[in-house]
Amino acid sequence: MFEDLFRQFWWLLFPLAAFVFGAWKNWLDYRANQAMLDLIKTYAASGREPPAQLLARLDRRWRDFDEQDEDRPRHGFRWRRERTWYRVVLFGMLSSGFAFAAVTNIYGAGEAFTIVAFVLGSICVATLVQVLLDRNGPTV
């Protein structure tokens, strides 16, 4: 029974993992913000002004701040404006691949591939709209 269920719904692992990962990141961000507030409380208790960098950090969420930090190379991927065409192409190609897999019914999982193709295609089109309707015009 478990085997049948797994064979039918293995693709559910991906969206579920994304939800769990998002919740995990939010939890860690929340804990980091709590630690930051504790630190600022320590400054307040001693009657001193916290450094400007600390307060600036508090203004933004952790990930937003990472994106603002342009000077230092990071290992993680940054969603900069120049990257949006990259995303259009990437998700377009991925969607095409999964659409092909759905049409040819590779591994007998055509229906699952259809859903994946639609999701990736939606991201591709949405990113394309974002690029074309950007306030500052298309980047290319």
Binding site: F6, R7, A17, R31, T42, R48, L54, R57, D66
Partner: protein, 60 residues
Amino acid sequence: MAYDLFRDFWWLLFPLSFMVLGAFRAWLTYRARREVMTVLRDLAAKGQEPPAALLAQLNR
């Protein structure tokens, strides 16, 4: 049964490993930030100014 499942879905190990690694990396980043903040708090409690390099660590 387990053998058949593994033979059909062995490739799932790769994306699942990436997910686990990503979660582990996020946890390590959080730990590093927390350590920096602990040091900053100790310095603040002692009334010392934190070095600029230490503050810059918060942006890691």
